[in-house]
Symmetry: C2
Subunit: 335 residues, 2 copies
């Protein structure tokens, strides 16, 4: 690396390194004439201050970390777009970490990040996270922390989510309104808030319509296991006439099994799922979806994180932000 | 932030800060007994070295940057998975930057990264990049640099790509074999290698089969403009019986226009497109795709970048890596 550094500028100008450094930072002890000479040469040679020296001096890295389960998922990639837009505008850098829903990987990442590499962290918790000590330790270290989407209820930090329970209620009620009587819910098997929120919305909608025949099937990250669960469900005596998938992946698994078993959607089975995939409109048949405000969640979570980093006061409504999801009705529910 | 730092350790142990620092780095001037005492306390209090101090001392950040046009695109998100797997194993951090195919944004990002914030950079060039001075300046600064997927032919650095020309040849020949006589190519309007490679593969396949009726339609980032171009193409006297889309987005735009104009795929129009979307199998009808080895491209590009960062010698075949794409034949081409 043959970069222009403070030493080179100092030699060229016949000044002390400390003088050059202070001139560049507009220190009042340095004369205007010297400042002008230093800055002119710095500009001419394309000098860029060493970020590690600046970080060390200011105890700031101008970097935030985003920890997410997956990136190959439209929801999280749209979140990243929102985060990155805010970060670029503020001149911050964004480190990305993928946990692949592995609790241990998440723990290691947070451990490494407790040393001041970043000014703040936003995380969507892994669905295998049951022990939350690492999150609590991070919070206790006093480092700025914001949860988004998948949050830990027990840990009191600002959070940005969608209204999971209301969205799930809407999805289930939509299936009821198009005539379904036996609705199965494909749930994310974990202790996370999004899972319990979506489940409670499903149960509330059934209760409102006087139904108590809930069918909750727990699904996970492995496609083949999910397909096997769905296959058994659709081949059982208790075959549902509607399915509500808590996660896009489970809706895709349902299509696959229906194609395999020659079950016609929506004639024999109606289907709605959480999904941010715009190509859901091209599916055979087009999938009715609950679309989360992913870009907005990322943008809002980053905005709040920067407020904390910059020690600005949060408004009361910024501690628990909920942004509504939308239902998009398509042919998979007979529309 | 109430973290344990060198100063605190030194006070607690009644030692000089420099002694503690050297003890932690196993300096031979420090006695084993002192080292043991220092390390025991550091472990007990959960001391993590300040990464900026380490970076400054070692002139290394243990961080790489990945600059990509978009993240909301299965190809790039799969690339990120490959990069992140290698980086996590090597204990490196990954900064992500999105250019949104904006040449100026790309230029700014590279300018900021020339100051040693990262140990190396991998980039897939924006499709609006015509002036390549910023890339050449980065290369000349001597910082490790690797291109992947969208490369700049003029700049001599290692690159990892797929065999765009061969893949496009296969796609076009597939359309010819299923009976198409008039094949249009929806091309990415830019000066990038992937664009010229894919175009040349299309032209070679036509030439091999004795056809000279090429139809090249330039498309871009705006969906509505693309749909308008495709609409005009499909309503013209020269309506093609096959379309090869250079980019997934253009295949999706084609579906949208066909639904709108009631053109049946594959009966009236056969369609194949580059795409890494697994849900392409659920489209109506399922889309025949050229699938790029995205994860492998990310993994290979990161591996090569780390070799350069660690000053290891590259093998001759690591300077120009090409990984084959696969064709997946589905109903959109009559399979």
């Amino acid at each position: 690396m043959d970069n222009v550094n403070l030493k080179k500028l100092a030699e060229e100008l016949n000044l002390a390194v400390s003088t050059v450094s202070r001139a560049l930072r507009d220190n009042h002890e340095i004369s205007q004439e010297t400042k002008d000479r230093v800055k002119a040469l710095a500009a001419k040679l394309g000098f860029q201050p060493n970020p590690h020296a600046s970080s060390l001096r200011q105890n700031k890295s101008r970097t935030i970390a985003v920890v997410i389960p997956e990136i190959q998922n439209n929801f999280f990639s749209q979140v990243m777009n929102g985060v990155e837009d805010v970060a670029q505008r503020k001149g911050y850098h964004v480190l990305i970490y993928l946990t692949h829903d592995d609790h241990n990987r998440e723990k290691e990442i947070l451990q490494v990040l407790r040393n001041g590499r970043v000014d703040g962290l936003m995380i969507s918790v892994s669905n295998t996270t049951t022990n939350i000590e690492h999150l609590e330790a991070y919070r206790q270290s006093g480092m700025p922390l914001v949860f988004f989407d998948r949050v830990c209820e027990e840990i009191d930090v600002p959070r940005v989510t969608t209204d999971d329970s209301i969205a799930a209620f809407k999805a289930t009620e939509h299936l009821l309104k198009v005539g379904c009587k036996k609705i199965a819910f494909l749930s994310l098997a974990c202790n996370l808030s999004i899972s319990s929120g979506r489940r409670s919305g499903y149960l509330k909608a059934l209760a409102k319509h006087g139904l108590d025949n809930e069918m909750i099937i727990e699904c996970g990250t492995d496609d083949e296991t999910n397909r096997q669960n769905i296959r058994e469900l659709l081949q059982s005596d208790q075959r549902p006439d509607g399915i509500f998938a808590a996660v896009e992946k489970f809706a895709i698994n349902t299509y696959e099994v229906c194609h395999e078993l020659n079950i016609a959607i929506p004639q024999q089975l109606k289907l709605v799922g959480f999904s941010n995939l715009s190509a859901a409109a091209l599916f055979d048949p087009p999938l009715s979806t609950i679309v989360q405000p992913a870009y907005e969640i990322g943008k809002e979570a980053a905005t709040i994180l920067f407020k904390i980093v910059e020690k600005k006061m949060l408004l009361p409504n910024e501690k628990r932000v909920m942004i509504a999801s939308e239902i998009v009705e398509r042919k998979s529910t007979g529309k």
